[in-house]
């Protein structure tokens, strides 16, 4: 019966350890007064920092270098989420493949979808590319609720800030005014910057650009650019040689000379096309932290605008 004894010893050890740990962690957590927020992306993190100020503690699951569609579900993410009071997602199924596993894995009932501690930042956003027909997987990765890259429109960032302020106010009603004031201040800041960005891009309004993935329609709409072609023949399907040829032809005939893409995609196709057409490739992160100098939401848009304008300029000089 040696094994039975061994079994009992293991069980008792685990139970005693459990009790001690729970007591200690309870004390440690009670000492904190800030609202603990975990966001799925670094853009949400940055906007939450603007809105929450020193009354929240924000962490993002992904960094700006990552493709938010494809996130490895590492257990360390569950630890990040375990003690959170609020979980904020971009929504529109961007985080579909990994959000629920992280929330369930964290064992934190406060932040389950539909509870007070869960916010979908896309509430009230005017969505683009919402399919009006039935879609299936032969069409590639189509998001049934519309294109989820809405945070790249600065005016949408204002809505996101308001959503976040409202939710933080629900969680901590005594700080509601503070959050609302911060959101209003963020909105004013965006309005100011918007004039500047608009002015910089205005000479190139109406220009067509090629992008790798369909991640830029909101940005393009806001700044008057036109999405010409995509390097992916269908969303999520890597560029095929036949498709690359078509893109080259269309770029030549349509006088398109700027390719915009995120740094996490392979740049082979873009380089090939650039060498054939003389187009300029702009590698711009679409999230905060994804490139040098883009360390908050406003500097992210600064950097994207700057990169595009430089490319347009040098393409014109050719």
């Amino acid at each position: 019966m040696q094994s039975v004894n061994r079994m009992k010893i293991i069980c008792i050890t685990i139970l005693v350890a459990a009790l001690c740990l729970n007591v200690i962690s309870g004390f440690l957590l009670a000492a904190e007064s800030q609202i603990r927020v975990v966001t799925t992306t670094s853009d949400l993190e940055s906007i939450t920092e603007f809105v929450g100020g020193d009354r929240v503690k924000v962490a993002s699951i992904t960094t700006g270098y990552q493709d938010p569609h494809f996130v490895e579900i590492r257990p360390s993410y569950m630890i990040k989420v375990r003690e959170a009071d609020l979980f904020i997602r971009i929504g529109l199924e961007l985080e579909l493949a990994w959000e629920s596993l992280i929330i369930e894995g964290s064992r934190n009932p406060k932040i389950k979808v539909g509870s007070l501690g869960h916010l979908d930042a896309s509430e009230g956003i005017e969505r683009l590319e919402v399919p009006t027909k039935k879609i299936d997987r032969s069409m590639g990765d189509i998001h049934p609720f519309g294109n989820p890259h809405y945070w790249l429109d600065p005016l949408n960032a204002k809505i996101m800030a308001n959503n976040i302020a409202r939710k933080l106010g629900e969680i901590s009603p005594e700080d509601e005014d503070y959050f609302m004031q911060n959101a209003a201040q963020f909105n004013r800041k965006i309005d100011e910057k918007m004039k500047e960005w608009d002015q910089k891009i205005s000479p190139y309004k109406g220009n067509k650009i090629v992008t790798y993935h369909k991640s830029w329609p909101y940005f393009a709409r806001r700044f008057g650019l036109i999405m010409g072609e995509y390097l992916e023949p269908k969303p999520g399907i890597p560029p095929s040689s036949r498709h690359i040829l078509e893109v080259i032809e269309k770029m030549r005939s349509g006088n398109i000379n700027v390719i915009l893409m995120e740094p996490f995609y392979s740049d082979k196709a873009a380089n090939l096309i650039a060498s054939k057409t003389g187009a300029k490739t702009v590698k711009a992160a679409n999230s905060v932290g994804g490139m040098k100098g883009a360390d908050n939401y406003i500097s992210l848009i600064d950097k994207i605008v700057e990169g595009l304008v430089t490319a347009f300029q040098s393409a014109e000089e050719q």
């Binding site: 079994m7 579900i73 596993l101 590639g140 189509i142 609720f145 010409g228």
Partner: protein, 493 residues
């Protein structure tokens, strides 16, 4: 409002002023006084009238101004919406150019393939609320290939119940998975497996059907139903998620062809430690084909010892499992999982015989943060297991151990190289193909056109004491295909 206040205030001042002047004029005649007073009152009335008129014209002016402004705003809004419409048309045009060649026809399934409930007909717009009932997926695994071994020999080499047992084609695993939320407190999963065995007969297995709690406090979670025991890394993974087309030798020896599973319940606890540290404690039935090293199926044999029928007489006749899983982030790009598992249960080759199985597993993965849809990556996974089995009435101790170690390299988007080494050995009699000394080396190459399909080529080099030919080795090549309909499986780390 302000104007009215001023009016009242001025009246008040005027009247007080007139009182003063009245007081000054006291010595003069009363008539004069009355005249003066009348005059003043008239004057006052005049003033008031004038002020009222001023106020009225002012108000009218402002009203017209306001109207003009409103008109202006309206125009602006209209202009903006026209601009918006133009933009919309442009985007729509751009979209038409991008239209895929294959048009969807009748399927409801979206990218995720959720079996969401949507009203029949064309009226469905994706904005309208839908109720998600559950995720459904159907996964099919097929293999074709051959081996230098005879078919009876392949059966011994490929011990997994879903491994190919035959030269030619094999339907490995057709798995119907249903999962979703039961209510706010419970989630549930069911995995039903259809299989066509080597004799061409169709079989249905209820592989798993269990619930997990979703809102217990203190990081606790209960799983109950019939499920794969959480031992090591591979036992509770379904064959289509494996990185090789067959089951490691040591898993077959410890848990039989189908893996260790059965009805039961387990409690897991995610500790509040600063790294990911989770304990599992479970109890399951110890009988049946899927409890191979334990009570198993009466009438069969374990390494020459007859398996008797055995009742459950006390709590000690159940199968108990524990596991401790730890995960460390070594950097943003490297993560390490380390686990230790143990099983305690009875076996039916003798009256009070027991079986203990111990295992340890390690998983190391590198994936750059800036990756192209999950590629490139490098992953190394190893499991080591040991079993103490008391066999027969004399309680002979049968000691078995073994390991597999696999290395995967996702060298470019959708392509993975892999190599696995298997080793297993037991003490005592070595004629038993489930206890002899065996090695296997299996290199493979997998291509994933998307996450929903794969093609895999694998070569197996087997060397075992039970193989009768002069070299004691066999060579096999297999080509595996997978396709998945429906919901995308969420990959656990």
């Amino acid at each position: 409002m302000k104007k009215i206040y001023i009016l009242i205030l001025s009246c008040f001042i005027l009247s007080s002023f007139s009182e003063k002047s009245l007081a000054e004029q006291e010595p003069k005649g009363k008539n004069d006084e009355i005249e003066a007073l009348k005059f003043e009152i008239q004057q006052m009335q005049k003033d008031i009238e004038e002020m009222r008129q001023n106020y009225e014209t002012e108000r009218k002016n402002q009203e017209t101004k306001l109207e003009a402004l409103q008109e202006k705003v309206k125009d602006l809004i209209e202009a903006k919406s026209i601009e918006k419409d133009e933009l919309r048309a442009e985007i729509a045009k751009a979209l038409i150019e991008e239209k895929p060649s294959i048009q969807p026809s009748y399927l409801y399934s979206a990218r995720t393939g959720d079996s969401t409930f949507k009203p029949e007909g064309s009226g469905w717009a994706s904005d309208s609320p839908t109720q998600k009932l559950m995720d459904i997926s159907f996964d099919s695994l097929f293999t074709m290939g051959g081996s230098t071994a005879r078919e009876s020999g392949i059966d011994k080499l490929q011990g997994g119940a879903h491994d190919p047992k035959k030269k030619g084609f094999t339907t490995q695993n057709l798995e119907l998975s249903l999962l979703g939320a039961v209510d706010p407190y419970l989630n549930a999963e069911a995995h039903l497996v259809f299989q066509i065995n080597k004799d061409g007969e169709s079989k249905l297995e209820v592989e798993e059907a269990f619930l997990t709690t979703q809102s217990l406090p203190h990081g606790l979670q209960i799983k109950a139903g019939t499920y794969f025991t959480e031992f090591g890394r591979l036992n509770f993974q379904h064959p289509h998620t494996w990185s090789f087309m067959d089951q490691p030798i040591i898993n077959t020896r410890m848990f039989g062809g189908d893996g260790l599973r059965g009805p039961g319940a387990r409690l897991s606890w995610l500790t509040p430690l600063p790294w990911y540290s989770e304990f599992f404690l479970g109890a399951q039935n110890a009988n049946g084909e899927t409890a191979f090293s334990f009570l198993s199926k009466a009438g069969g044999a374990f390494s020459g010892h007859t398996i008797k029928a055995r009742d459950v007489r006390s709590l000690e006749d159940m199968l108990y499992s524990t596991r401790w899983l730890n995960s460390f982030s070594l950097s943003d790009e490297v993560a390490l999982n380390f686990g230790a598992s143990a099983l305690f249960g009875p076996n039916a080759t003798g009256n009070d015989n027991r079986t203990n199985i111990y295992g340890t597993d390690i998983y190391l993965k590198w994936k750059p943060l800036s990756n192209d849809r999950g590629f490139p990556f490098v992953a190394w996974q190893t499991e080591l297991m040991k079993r103490d089995y008391e066999a027969g009435e004399s309680k002979d101790s049968l000691d078995d151990w073994g390991l597999y170690s696999q290395f995967l390299w996702g060298f470019k988007r959708n392509w993975v190289w892999g190599i696995r080494y298997d080793l297993a050995d037991g003490n005592g009699a070595l004629t038993d193909y489930l206890r002899d000394r065996r090695h296997r080396v299996s290199p493979n190459l997998t291509w994933y056109p998307t996450e929903f399909s794969k093609v895999r080529f694998q070569y197996n080099y087997d060397k075992a004491e039970h193989i009768n030919d002069s070299d004691g080795d066999e060579h096999s090549v297999w080509l595996q295909f997978e396709f998945m309909l429906g919901s995308h499986p969420k990959h656990k780390f």
